[in-house]
């Protein structure tokens, strides 16, 4: 299937079709995860009618894969009405992202009946005391796991999403083992992203270099750790490649109708309350600017040893101040894989060295403080 999906993605790219969109239905949430990048207040979410209209526009524009996320999607009282419209009327391939603590047998059956492709549930640890300390909701792990069982028993595809951070690093093997025991899939992500308002304090929760190094050499995660950690030979062809799919075949829409290239790329490109979705996608100057960037256009990164293999996220680079610049979190990953500092890391080191200038100062003579001619 992956080859066919690649072909379809390539075709969508040529036709300028937004193949995949993440739509956050709400930023409200019933958990208070310590690393979350969202502001959970409701500043005027789209109404049911507005969302249905947007879904029609998305279908018209060619969107095939629709990821409904949040916040917690189940907090919308019209969640099933929206889901039913997306599936039965508009035949999207729908994926859900949820903490699942409001999903019981009845909800699981409805999700099955509506033909949802997959449900991704956030799980931070297999140990309740650790998971619940991240969500700040006592009993949340048990409820999420119960929901996963209800969904699995309906024959649905369930995926544990395991964001790995300092407090949970030692538990990722436990989460993977739990998923395997329950017959579920699991993914891990070692990147904590800044808050949407730019606050970077949550980045302190990221795992340290030693843990990242360990992660990339865990043979249960990578097929061949040695091979995946070598530096690729410089490849000039890759300079013409796209940095990622953001703005090319994918985009993100907030609960307020703002359209961004990606959920991790908070560059506003338009609002569906004021413009048609397809017009934003095709004609937004900012979306087209993102779309115009090739690897050869990146500052710093084009001279980097890791350029061919780097997982550089343009959204994280944007949040660092330059969408054509490096993403430090990905520099750290490249360094953890290979032990070789990125061009960005070396540049920062040089800049830091220039900031601290130490010169020897001649020792004061006996006449110090007095005029030389005195």
């Amino acid at each position: 299937m992956s080859n066919l999906l690649d072909e379809v993605t390539e075709r969508a790219l040529k036709l300028n079709v937004p193949l995949s969109v993440q739509l956050d239905l709400t930023y409200r949430c019933n958990e208070r995860c310590v690393h979350c990048y969202l502001d959970h207040h409701d500043y005027g979410e789209m109404t049911t009618a507005e969302i249905k209209h947007l879904l029609e526009e998305m279908a018209e524009a060619g969107v095939f894969i629709l990821t409904l996320s949040g916040g917690e999607i189940m907090l919308r009282k019209d969640f099933f009405e929206i889901l039913e419209y997306a599936r039965r009327q508009l035949t999207f391939c729908v994926k859900l992202k949820t903490n699942a603590i409001l999903i019981r047998e009845q909800e699981a059956a409805r999700i099955r009946d509506l033909g949802v492709e997959s449900i991704q549930i956030s799980v931070y640890s297999h140990r309740p005391e650790i998971h619940d300390a991240i969500t700040l909701v006592p009993g949340s792990l048990k409820r999420s796991l119960d929901a996963a069982r209800f969904l699995k028993s309906q024959g649905l595809r369930v995926i544990f999403a395991n964001p790995v951070m300092a407090q949970t690093f030692q538990d990722y093997p436990g989460v993977r083992a739990l998923a395997a025991e329950m017959g579920l899939e699991s993914t891990i992500d070692p990147t904590i992203t800044p808050m949407m308002d730019g606050d970077r304090s949550v980045l302190d929760l990221n795992i340290d270099r030693a843990s990242l190094h360990q992660l990339f050499r865990d043979e249960s995660l990578v097929v061949d750790a040695e091979e995946s950690c070598v530096v690729d030979a410089a490849d000039q062809d890759k300079l013409q490649h796209l940095p990622c799919s953001a703005g090319h075949t994918t985009c993100y829409v907030s609960p307020y109708g703002d359209v961004f290239p990606c959920v991790q790329f908070p560059l506003p490109t338009g609002n569906v309350r004021k413009q048609r979705f397809v017009d934003i996608w095709r004609h937004s100057e900012r979306m087209n600017e993102v779309r115009s960037i090739r690897l050869k256009d990146l500052s710093t990164c084009t001279s980097c040893t890791h350029m061919s293999s780097c997982s550089r996220c343009p959204g994280l680079a944007y949040m660092e101040g330059n969408m054509r610049g490096p993403s430090s979190a990905d520099c750290e990953k490249s360094f953890a894989k290979t032990g070789i500092p990125s061009a960005n890391m070396l540049a920062k080191k040089r800049a830091a060295a220039n900031l601290v200038q130490i010169r020897s100062i001649p020792a004061p003579g006996p006449m110090a403080g007095a005029s030389a001619s005195a």
């Binding site: 036709l15 969107v63 035949t91 999207f92 729908v94 492709e117």
Partner: protein, 105 residues
Amino acid sequence: MSKLYVARSPRVAARSLGGEMMIMSGRDSTLFTLNETASILWQAADGTTPLEEIVEQKICSEFEVEPSEALQDAETVARELAGHHILQISEQPMPQPSPASGASR
């Protein structure tokens, strides 16, 4: 010979991309793409129009092909898609709610 009716499976996801359908099976998330003629057949599969009529009106009118040959090909394609559970086949009409226009663009 009895008439054959075809209907899109309600559990699949579907969208047209440059005139060719992308279909994802609701059973196992397998992705299929249909060529232009199979896409025409898929889009016309409303459960109530006989396959023979679909072939005459939608395929023979667009392509230079013998109706009997086109019908034989269409039946083969329909049975193959039914084997993947993304299309339903019956000798009786299968009325069903039609999706909004955006679904088949």
